[in-house]
Amino acid sequence: MTLTSLLAPYWPTRKGLLLSLAMVAVLVALPLIAADSYTLHFVWKVLFWALAAAAWNIAGGYAGQFSLGHAAFFGLGAYGSTLLYMHFGLSPWIGMFVGAGAAVAFATLIGALTLRLQGPFFALASIAFAEVLRIAIVNWRSFTGGAEGLSLPFDPSFANMMFSDRLWYVYIMMAALLIVLLITYVLERSWIGYALAAMRENEEAAEALGVDTVRAKLFSIGLSALLSAIAGTLYANYILLIEPSTVLSIGFSVEIALIAIIGGMGTPLGPILGAVLIVPLSEYLRAEFAGSLQGLYLLVYGALLIVMVIVMPLGLMSAIREPRTAARRLRGVFGGSSRRRPVREESRHA
């Protein structure tokens, strides 16, 4: 077997390759054109949520392990590198991988204890584990800073992963996102991708066809946790403040999952589309309704999300692939037609 034949399934088409190169070029050029501090922060935010959602997507989207506890893995990355840096002066570049290791260990533990739980039951268990971690960190005040969290002293240098120029943060985030995208892309086309998809669609049938579902489950949660933890470290070193009430909260876990769902679960680009749509939307609404009733923007945000989920139950990616179905569903929402048939649900019940 030659190297070419091994690589063949992963080799993009000419069109795909050109398109990806164009996208990367635009991404790299964008921050240079609009280099004011606010725009850079905004771009960073979109990239960050895309990264977190892309990491979630490997377990939640591809493997059907619908986790609502990813804040735990994210938090282990953020706390891991930060604690090692503050207590032992270890560079976050190294601490990042220690945190990721802790996240993989935690993910393996969760996975091993919830092997028989599927769908909503797994989601509930994942919330419980994340909560246990949050409560532990809140109570271990002497080491973790408790509920007030940790504030990283700003000391810019490459070794400290802290930069005066926001452009650095944007490019690091961009690089991380591209790496995760590449991993997702290769995974999707490899035999592992088939095993994960089979497990997601029907665990019993997958097992009968020779898929080791225990390994597939642990692998997907582990890889997803590793990448989430790396996102956590990157977050901590940019925001410079980590609190259990944000980075370890259920709300955070839900937001990550939501972006991937809105964008399109189980597709490489879905999480990015989700972040590109959701982050500006939530920023815009927050600014627009800032003067009026407090929290009103959340109400509008929630209503819009509901409409999106009804119109595009399989996410933006599917709406782009099949615009007619999405248009029909949109008419259904506002015109009262009841002919809505979510494809995936049908297949599950069949």
């Binding site: 077997m1 034949s5 091994l6 063949a8 399934p9 086309r189 490899s190 035999w191 088939y194 095993a195 998809a197 089979a198 997601r200 669609e201 029907n202 019993e204 049938a205 997958a206 097992e207 009968a208 066809l209 020779g210 898929v211 080791d212 579902t213 494809v343 995936r344 049908e346 297949s347 599950r348 069949a350």
Partner: protein, 240 residues
Amino acid sequence: MLEVRGISKQFGGLRAVNDVHLSIGKGEIVGLIGPNGAGKTTLFNCIAGAFPPTQGQVLLEGRNITGLKAHQVCRAGLARTYQIVKPFGGLSVLDNVVVGAINQTHNIAEARRIAEEALVLTGLANRRDVPAASLPLPGRKRLEISRALATRPKVLLLDEVMAGLNPSEVEKAIVLIEAIRAHGISILIIEHLMRVITAVSDRIVVMNHGSKLAEGQPAEVLKDKTVIQAYLGEDFGAHG
């Protein structure tokens, strides 16, 4: 090829399978029949590793595969289909079958080739790109068989692959089963349609209340008084 030695399965107080022995030679087709609740599917589940038997042994080519997990049994060379079909609805027909092929090879191009071969054999090749969820029932039954074949089994367990098919589809399915046997694959088939069982089986095993009731040539077994009683009740056995 496959040897089942004294398999029993106890669910709480219920003995669903009781001390069943059977064996299948290379390229042989054995029909497994019996009234509803006789324990046929439970026996399948014990053989295929869906759950371990309470007692007894399963040997595949002399290798003890008792108590192995389902995926290990599959890799050892024994594949099964489900009575209630379980397609991977969101995946295309071809991708469904590729899943079966990936434990033969991790090279996707090669796995696709194996999958396409299986689809040609089962007559689904022209539907390869449609989502499995959009196949009608006969297609889904064929998909079950295609996926199982893509694992390159030595022994194939077919659980009521003809239920719900119309007469012309049944004819096609019989031809398919003969074609599979021609590849040297041994088959254990559960089926309620007697016409099918008598047409394809070299031997028949009859189960009732978890135990083996009779075994032998199709024509003889179906004349057996105890078998007729099991199916039709005491009265028919007495007069028949």
